[in-house]
Amino acid sequence: MTTDVLVLLEHADDGALRPSVPELLTLGRTIGTVGAVWVAAADPGADVLAELAAHGVQELHVVTPDAHPRLTPVIAEALAALVEPSTRAVLLGSSFENKEVAARLGVLTGAGVMVDVAALSVDGERLVAEKQVFAATWTTRCTVRTPLAVLAVKPHAVQAETTGPSEPQVVRHEVSVSAVAAAVEVVERTERAPSERPDLGAAQVVVVGGRGTDGDFSALDELADVLGGAVGATRVATDEGWIDRDAQIGQTGVTVAPRLYIGAGVSGAVHHRGGMQASGTIVAINTDADAPIFEIADLGIVGDLRQVLPQATAELRRLRG
C-alpha cells in the first residue's frame, strides 16, 4: 500500500496522544492516504489504535530506533527512513521540538519545510499553507517547490473529525540512527504531570496574568475555570516564579491563538504580543489607560483586575445558574 501523507504521532511519555494528533490526522486526509508514525521504545496502546482506526488510518508505522526516541534528530531520521518517492507530505505539530524535527528532515530529504502553519489547503498539486508573521500583523500564503513538503501545523488549523473505521495495518521498522544523532545522551528527562486545565497552546479560552497580578493568580484561575480555559502568563510572572515557566506566552514562550484571550495586568509588550496577537477576541484589563495592550484589545477595561475579574466570574456563574 502506498500512503501519501505521514503523520507523526506525538505522545506523552506515558503513551497518551497529544491533542494535536486528531487534527493532524484530519488534515492528512485532505491531502491523501494517511500513514501514522509512532516513534518510541514501547508499542502504542489500545486507545491509540482505536483513535487511528476512528480516523480511517490505513497504515501504522511503529518505529523503534536504536537511540533515545525523544531526541529530535532521532525522530527526524526515523521519519526520513519512511519517506518514499510517493510521499507528498509529512505532518507534525508545530512545537519548538517539532520545528527541529522538521528542519533536520528538510536537510535529510531535501523537502521544503513550512512551520507554524495556521491553515492548509490543497490547490491541485500544490499544498498552500497560511502563516501569521510579524506578531500576526501579516498573513502569508506559502507553498513548497519540492516534491515533498514537511509541515509543522499549529493547533486549530482544522476541526478534528473522525471518519473511520479502518483497520490500520501495522508495519514495524527498526531504524539505526547516525552516529551523530546517537552521540547525544539523555542524562535526565522529567515530564511534567499534565494540568487539569486544557493545554495552553490548544485552549479556546486563555486567561493571562502579568505583573499586575502581583503574584496572586486566584482571580484568573477562577475565571479560567468558569470559562473552561487555560491560564497563561507574561514572562515577568514566570520569572517571578508566580506560575510555571511553561505558562509563558510570547515570542520565547508558547504562541496561542484562542477564540478568546483575556489579559489582566498585562502591559502588552511586543515580545508578549508576538505570542497572542492572532487570538480571535482580545480582552484586556489594566489600570493604565495608556497600556499598549489596549491598542489591540477588542474590549479594553481600564480598571483593577482584583475588582473586575471576581465580579465577572460571579456574574458568569450566576448566568449559568
Binding site: A12, D13, R70, P73, A76, F96, E100, A103, R104, G106, G110, A111, V113, M114, V115, D116, V128, Q132, F134, T137, W138, T139, C142, T143, V144, R145, A183, V184, V187, E188, R189, E191, R192, G201, V205, L227, D246, T252, V254, L260, G274, V283, A289, F294, D298, L299, G300, I301, V302, G303, Q307, V308, L309, P310, Q311, A312, T313, A314, E315, L316
Partner: protein, 258 residues
C-alpha cells in the same frame, strides 16, 4: 557563535510583494536573542580560555550584529556577504554557515558552535537544527544552562512538556534561550576595543560554494501572497465605574464567547 542582524522589533515591519522582509536600513539591531548566545559563548570561553568568533550571514548592515558581539567581547568576526545570498532560505543559510564554520576551523579547531534560540524576525527556530545537521555535530538545543567538562558539553533544557539534561561529546552545537543568562552590556572600553578587532568579510567564492540552493531562486518555499491584517474594528474601551466585571460578562455572552 552565530548571530543575526534583524529589523528592529519595535519598528513597523512589512513584507514586499515577494513576501520578503523589507529591510529599510538604519533600524536594524543584533537579534536580541543572539545576545544570549554571545553571552553564553563569552562565559564559556572565559572559563576555558578559548577564542570567540562571531559569525553572520547577511547584507551589508548585518555587520552591525557582529560589531555588537565584538563590543560585548568576541575576539573576531566573520561576515558572509554576497549578492547571490539575497532571499536564501534556512537550508541555504545552514549550508553557508556550515561552510564558514569549516573555514574558521582551518585556523584552529572549533569546539562549540553557539546560536540563539530564534530570530525575532522570522521566529522559525529551524536554523540551529539545520546547521548541526549540515555540520554533522551533535545538537543540544534550547539550553538554559550549559557546562563544559571532560570534553563533553551538558545542557539543561525546559521544553513544553518536560525538562531534560542532555550531554554530548565536543565538538557540538548548542542553542541557548533567553533564560540562559543576562547578556552583558558593552562597556565603553569594549566599544573602543571593538573598533580594532578584525571583521573578515567573505563571499561564496571564498567558501568554495556555488549558488545552487542559495538565493531566492534556490529557496525551497515560495510566498504566494502576503497581506496585512486589517485593524481590529469595533474596539471598545471602557473605564471601570464599579460594574466593569458585569459589562465583561455581558460582552462575553453577547459575543457568544462563553
Amino acid at each position: 557563535m552565530c548571530v543575526k542582524h534583524v529589523p528592529d522589533l519595535m519598528a513597523e515591519r512589512r513584507l514586499d510583494d515577494a513576501g520578503r522582509v523589507v529591510r529599510d536600513g538604519g533600524d536594524g539591531t543584533l537579534n536580541e536573542l543572539d545576545e544570549n548566545a554571545v553571552e553564553a559563548a563569552l562565559t564559556l570561553a572565559e572559563e576555558h580560555d578559548a577564542e570567540v568568533v562571531a559569525l553572520t550571514m547577511g547584507p551589508d548592515d548585518a555587520v552591525d550584529a557582529v560589531r555588537r558581539a565584538l563590543q560585548m567581547g568576541a575576539d573576531r568576526a566573520v561576515h558572509v556577504l554576497d549578492d547571490a545570498l539575497t532571499g536564501t532560505d534556512v537550508f541555504g543559510t545552514a549550508r553557508v554557515l556550515a561552510a564558514a564554520v569549516r573555514r574558521i576551523a582551518e585556523d584552529g579547531p572549533v569546539d562549540l558552535v553557539v546560536t540563539g534560540m530564534a530570530s525575532l524576525d522570522g521566529l522559525t527556530s529551524m536554523l540551529p537544527a539545520a546547521l548541526s545537521a549540515e555540520l554533522g555535530l551533535p545538537q543540544l538545543t534550547l539550553a538554559v544552562e550549559t557546562a563544559i567538562a571532560d570534553g563533553a558539553v551538558t545542557v539543561h533544557r525546559d521544553l513544553d512538556h518536560a525538562t531534560e539534561v542532555l550531554r554530548a561529546p565536543l565538538p557540538a552545537l548548542v542553542s541557548v534561550t533567553d533564560q540562559a543568562n543576562e547578556p552583558r552590556y558593552p562597556a565603553f572600553a569594549g566599544i573602543m576595543a571593538a573598533r580594532k578587532k578584525p571583521v573578515d568579510t567573505i563571499g561564496l567564492d571564498d567558501l568554495g560554494l556555488d549558488g545552487s540552493g542559495l538565493g531566492a531562486q534556490g529557496a525551497r518555499t515560495e510566498v504566494l501572497t502576503a497581506t496585512e491584517r486589517p485593524p481590529r474594528t469595533d474596539r471598545v474601551l471602557l473605564t471601570d465605574e464599579g460594574d466593569a466585571g458585569l459589562r465583561l460578562a455581558e460582552y462575553l455572552v453577547q459575543n457568544k464567547l462563553v
